[in-house]
Amino acid sequence: MPARTPLEQLYDEHAGALFAFLLNLTRAEADARDVLQEVFIKLAREPRRLAGIREERAFLMRLAHNAAVDLMRRREVRDRTREGFAAELTPFAPTDDPDEQLFRLELAAALGELPAEQRAVVHLKLWEGLTFEEIAAVLGLPPNTAASRYRYGLDKLRGRLRPLYEEIK
């Protein structure tokens, strides 16, 4: 088996997490793919971008977030109805358990109702396990703003999912 190039190594280590983040952010698989490809093309064009970077994952998340925000801005202008479709898409893996599947669909719908900036913070906190300082660095925010966005987002999710959560707990 031939040795992996640095770009392949980066892809294998981080593309899964980037995809999940992008899918949650853009709510469209095609958009997540476009942004993911854009990130890797940027890295191929300017390999020096990674020189001296200590936290590769955080750096890549930041690149992905910026590219996704650009894409969403363009889409927002072009297609205002996209959010309607967005709630339909689930960024979570399917399961055979009907109760759990219902919970995941509800969670996906609840996430879809959050503003994109809250969704990004909630994703990075819950599914990436980042601290507020790390989230702030990725999203270019003050840590307090990241924390408050997380609290607002989580409160909305709790409000929306509580009945179902209590039922299947």
Partner: protein, 135 residues
């Protein structure tokens, strides 16, 4: 992290479609790396050379002219205090004229409304009392 957050965290995210790897890496591999930008020092040197190289003799002549102008300027500046030091003392007529002008100026100042620059101050009641006691 509370129970609700832990519960959400356990929900697995959708896996990355495996077929994308080849496609995305191929697209990235087709991109040529951008040429490295030269360092600031090197860019300055290049800019300097491109500015001076076409007509080096003209630039050298201009620089020499500036050096001559600067030297002349410096030498003239050094002469000014020397000249004033070497000049003769003013004549008695000049001194008289200067004194007259000075006197005229004092009179003018004294005549101006409220012009009481050198006028002695009116002594206050406290001073008058002191004078009476002393005197």
């Amino acid at each position: 992290m509370n129970e609700f957050e832990q519960r959400l965290r356990q929900v697995p995210v959708k896996p990355l479609p495996p077929e994308w790897r080849a496609e995305i890496l191929a697209a990235a591999g087709a991109v040529q790396p951008a040429p490295a930008r030269p360092a600031l020092q090197e860019r300055l040197a290049v800019g300097w050379r491109s500015l001076f190289w076409p007509h080096p003799q003209a630039w050298a002549g201009l620089a020499a002219a500036w050096v001559v102008i600067a030297l002349l300027h410096l030498s003239q500046r050094d002469e000014v205090p020397a000249r004033s030091a070497n000049s003769a003392p003013p004549s008695p007529e000049t001194l008289i004229e200067l004194r007259q002008q000075q006197q005229m100026l004092v009179e003018l100042l004294d005549l101006r409304p409220g012009g009481d620059i050198d006028r002695p101050k009116k002594s206050g009641p406290h001073t008058q009392l002191m004078r009476a006691l002393m005197g």
